[in-house]
C-alpha cells in the first residue's frame, strides 16, 4: 500500500486541479482542419467508446458535418473493462482496431503499459494542461456523482444531501449503489483511504442494493424500489427527462470520474483518431457530445456540466496516479461486493 502522505500529496494536486477555474480549450481550428486533411482517404475513424449507439450516431453526424470526408464509425462497449481488452486482442491478432479509445484511466493505462498508445505533445497542439491530462491521454468527458432520491417517497426535507445523510438508519435496506467503487475511489482523493474505507463499511451496514450499472440504479430510484441512491448525474437525467420522479443533490465534495481518450498506435487512421480527440476537447465538440450523451466536459468552457459544478469542490485522482491506486480500488470494490447483508 502506498504511504498515506504520498497519496495525500497526489490527491491534493488532483483535487486542486479540478477545483481550479478551468481553462478554455484553445485548439486552433486550422490545426484541426489540417488533421482532417490528413485523415481523409484513410478510411473511417474507428472509435471505441461506451455511449449507446443512438447517442453516438448524433456525434458521428455532427463530426461528419464539421469535417466533410471524414467519417466516424463508433463501436460500443458498455462493459468498460472490455473495451481495453478488445484493443489488446485486435492488436495482438493484427486486425483492424480502434483509432481512438475513450474510457477510464485504468483502461487506458493497460494499453500504455503495452506500448499501444501514441504519445502526444498536447501543449504544442494548444491543449491546456487541465485537458491534456498526461502525454497519452486527453480528457474527453466528466462523469459526475450525485445523491438521488425518489420525489414521491422521500420528502425534500428528508432527501439525502450529503454523505452522512446516507447513513441515516431510516434508509436501511433502501440505498442503491453502483457495484463499482468509482465514486468512492474519487472520494478517497480528498478523504484518504482510511476515512473512505470506513465510510464504505458504514454504508454497507445499511444493507444497500448494488447495481451493475448506474442506469438501472437511476431507474429503480425512479420506480421507487430503492428510494435513495448514489448514482451518476447523466444516468439519472435519462429517466428524469422522461418524467421520472427523481431529484438529485450534489454532495460535498463531489466525486467525478474523467473519461480520457487515447490514440491507438495500431490504428489505421491515427490522424482521424487524434482529430476526434481534439475536437471533443473544443467547446464545439464538447457541446455536441454533451447534448448527445448528457455527459459533459468539466474542462471545457460553456458546457452545462461546468455550470452545474461551478463553485463546488470536486474530487478525483489525476490519471497518471490511477495505476498506483488500483489496489485501493480493488479493496473498495471487494468491500462493496461482499459487504452488507443479502436481502433475504
Amino acid at each position: 500500500m502506498r504511504p498515506r502522505s504520498l497519496i495525500r500529496a497526489t490527491l491534493a494536486g488532483a483535487a486542486a486541479a479540478l477545483t481550479a477555474s478551468v481553462a478554455y480549450s484553445q485548439i486552433p481550428a486550422a490545426s484541426l482542419d489540417q488533421l482532417a486533411g490528413q485523415a481523409r482517404g484513410k478510411g473511417p475513424v474507428i472509435w471505441y467508446e461506451s455511449s449507446p449507439t443512438d447517442q453516438a450516431d448524433k456525434i458521428a453526424a455532427a463530426f461528419a458535418k464539421r469535417f466533410p470526408g471524414v467519417t466516424l464509425q463508433h463501436t460500443r462497449d458498455a462493459g468498460g473493462a472490455g473495451i481495453g481488452a478488445r484493443v489488446i486482442q485486435e492488436v495482438q491478432g493484427n486486425a483492424r482496431t480502434a483509432d481512438l479509445l475513450t474510457g477510464s484511466a485504468s483502461v487506458i493505462w493497460q494499453l500504455v503499459n503495452r506500448d499501444m498508445v501514441v504519445k502526444q505533445d498536447w501543449k504544442a497542439m494548444g491543449v491546456p494542461a487541465t485537458v491534456g491530462t498526461s502525454p497519452f491521454t486527453i480528457a474527453s468527458t466528466t462523469a459526475v456523482y450525485v445523491l438521488l432520491s425518489n420525489k414521491q417517497q422521500v420528502s425534500d426535507a428528508e432527501a439525502p444531501k450529503n454523505w452522512d445523510d446516507l447513513l441515516n438508519p431510516k434508509w436501511s435496506g433502501k440505498v442503491g449503489l453502483w457495484i463499482r467503487a468509482e465514486p468512492q475511489l474519487s472520494l478517497a482523493a480528498t478523504w484518504g483511504e482510511q476515512k473512505t474505507a470506513a465510510f464504505i463499511e458504514s454504508v454497507n451496514r445499511q444493507k444497500p442494493f448494488v447495481f451493475k450499472s448506474t442506469f438501472p440504479l437511476a431507474q429503480q430510484v425512479g420506480a421507487g424500489e430503492v428510494p435513495v441512491g448514489l448514482g451518476l448525474y447523466h444516468a439519472a437525467m435519462v429517466p428524469i427527462q422522461r418524467g421520472a420522479p427523481i431529484r438529485f443533490h450534489f454532495p460535498d465534495p463531489v466525486p467525478t470520474t474523467t473519461l480520457h481518450s487515447a490514440v491507438i498506435a495500431a490504428g489505421k487512421n491515427r490522424e482521424g483518431g487524434l482529430l476526434l480527440a481534439l475536437w471533443l476537447a473544443t467547446p464545439e465538440g464538447a457541446k455536441v457530445y454533451e447534448a448527445a450523451t448528457g455527459r459533459g466536459h468539466a474542462g471545457v468552457d460553456g458546457t452545462e456540466v461546468q455550470t452545474l459544478l461551478a463553485g463546488r469542490k470536486l474530487t478525483e485522482f489525476s490519471p497518471d496516479k490511477v495505476p498506483d491506486n488500483l489496489d485501493m480500488f480493488e479493496r473498495f470494490n471487494k468491500s462493496i461486493a461482499a459487504g452488507g447483508q443479502a436481502v433475504k
Binding site: 455511449s51 449507446p52 449507439t53 443512438d54 447517442q55 464509425q73 463501436t75 460500443r76 462497449d77 458498455a78 462493459g79 468498460g80 473493462a81 472490455g82 481495453g84 481488452a85 489488446i88 486482442q89 485486435e90 495482438q92 491478432g93 493484427n94 486486425a95 483492424r96 477510464s104 484511466a105 485504468s106 483502461v107 487506458i108 493505462w109 493497460q110 457495484i179 463499482r180 467503487a181 447495481f211 451493475k212 450499472s213 442506469f215 438501472p216 437511476a218 431507474q219 425512479g222 420506480a223 421507487g224 424500489e225 430503492v226 444516468a235 429517466p239 422522461r242 418524467g243 421520472a244 480493488e330 470494490n333 461486493a337 461482499a338 452488507g340 447483508q341 443479502a342 436481502v343 433475504k344
Partner: protein, 582 residues
Amino acid sequence: MSAAPQSGAWSSPSGSSGWGARLSAAAVALLLVYLVIVPLVLLGISSIRPTGFPLEPGFTLSNFSKVFLAGDFGRLLQTTVLFALGSTALAMALGVALAWLVERTDLPGRNVFRVLVILPMATPPVLLAIGWAMLLSPRTGLFNLLLKDGLGLSAAPFNVYSVPGMIFVEALALVPTAFLFLAPAFRNMDPSLEEAAIASGASTWRLIRKVLLPLLWPALAACAVFLLIVCFVVFDIPGTLGMPARIYVLSTRIFYLTADSPTGVPLYGQVSALGSFFLLILAVLGVAYFRFTRESQRYRTISGKGFRPRQASLGVWRWPAFGAVSVYFLLAVVAPLGILIWASLMPYQTRPNLASLSLATLDNHMDFLRNARLITATLNSLTIAIVSATLVAALSLIVSWLVVRQRPAGATLIDNLAFAPIAIPGVMLGVAVIYVYLSLDQVFPVYGTIWILVIAYVTHYISFGSRLANGVMVQIHPELEEAARASGAGGFRVLARITAPLVWPAVAAIWIWVVAHAMRELSTALMLASRNNTVLPTLLWDYWTGGEPTRAATVGVWLVLALALFLALWHALSTRSASRTS
C-alpha cells in the same frame, strides 16, 4: 449406393461400423475439434498466463490460487449448487408434468399449449428477470403490493432478490427446454408396454416405476444433466436478481471478473481458471450421464410395429389440470409479458396502477418502428438464428446417428466433444473465438461479421442438440433401419429416409430451440459485436444499459411477437405437412 445388410460399407445393427461411417466420424470429429478444442486450448492457455491474454508471455498458477483459495469460494460454490439444483429440480418437475399432460393425456387445448410452451423461450432471460423484479420486488412489486393490500399484510410476502426468487425465475425460463427434451420421449413411447402392464394388473404407481420411468430414463437423465450444467453457467437471471442483493454464483463472479475488473482489463486468467472448474463439473456430470444411458438399448420403444401413443384419460382431473397448466402460462408468459408491455407503453419505469395509466404512450413503439438500425438488426438476428439452427440440427442428427447407432471408433470422443461446449461460459467462448478468427483473418475474414456469431452459436448449441438427439435416438429400435438396409438402401439413404423422419420431432425441437436461443443470446453477441453484426439483443442491451428500460421492453415485446408469429407459422406448416403425409 447399395449395401448388404450385414457387410455393408456403413454399419451393422450391432454397431460395428463400415468405412462410410468411419469417414463420416473422422470428418465430424475434425469439425468438432476445430469448433470445440481450439477454444478450450485457448481457455487453458489463458488460465496460466499472468495477464490472462493467451498471446502474452509468462506462466503462472496464481490465477487458480486466487480463484480457489479465496475465502468466499466455499460459500460461492454452495450458493451455486443450491441455485443449480433448485432450478433444475423445479424445471424438471414442471417440464415432466407439462410434457406428460400435453403429449399423453386428453388435456383440453393441448395442441395450443404445445405451441405456447415455446413462448417463454422468446423472452430474453434478462427481460424475464426484469419482469419478475417488477412483479415481486419487495417494495414496488405488483404482486407483492396486491397481496399486501388484499391480505392486510405488514410486509411484502415475496422477495425476488433472493435464492428462491432466482430459482423460481430460472426454472420458468428452463421449462421450455425441459419440455423440448422430454416431449418427444413421451410421444415416442410404445403404448403396448403400458397396456401389457395394465393388463397384468399393475397399479398406477407400479406402472410409473416399472415401465414409464425406465422408458423415460435416458431422456430424463439427459435433460436433468443438461439443465444442471446450464444452471451452473447461466448468468442473466442470477446477475439481474442476485447481484443487487449481493448473492453471487460462479457465473456472476465471472461477470464481475470480466466487466468490473479493477485493473482496467478483464481478469481472463481467473475467468479461465473458473472455466476449468466448469469443465471439471461437466466431466463429473458427463460420466454420470453416460452411466445413466449406458444400457439405453433397453429403452427402445419405436420399432417397426406401427403404434399411436396411448392417451391417458384425466377424467375429473381434466379441467383442474387445464387450470394448473394455465397458471403456469400465466406465470411464465402472461405476467412477465404483460409487465413488459406495460413498461413499453410508459415513458419511464413505473409500477402499474391507474395513476400511471395517464402516462401511457406509443412513443417507444413508434421510435422502434422508425429506427433504421432495427431493420438491419432484425435481418441479422433472423439470418444468424436460422443458419445456426439448421447447422446445429443437421450436425446433431449426424453426431447422434454416429454415436448412438453407428458406434465407430472414436464415437465416445465425438460425443464428449459435442457435449463439452456447454461448460464454456459465453464470455469465454466469445474471447476464444475472437482469437481464433483474428489469427485466421487473412484467409477466413469473418471477424466482425454475422458469420462469427454463427460459428460461436453452432459451437455453443451443439451440446443441446446432440443431447436431445441422443435421447431420442436411443429410443428408436434399429429394426426399421435394418429392414431398409435389407431392401438395399445405403447408409445416408437410411439416415435420410428412415432415421431422420423418426427423429423428426427431436430435430424440429432442436431447430426451434436454437432459433429461439440464438435470437436472444446476449453474452457472446456482446463479446463479438461490431458495427456490422448488430443483433436485436445487443440493441436491447443498448437501451437497457443506456438507461431506457421502457425502450428495452419495447424491443422485448417485438422480439416475443416476432418469435410467436414465427412459431405459429412453423406449427401451421408442420401440421399441414403431417396431414399430407398421413
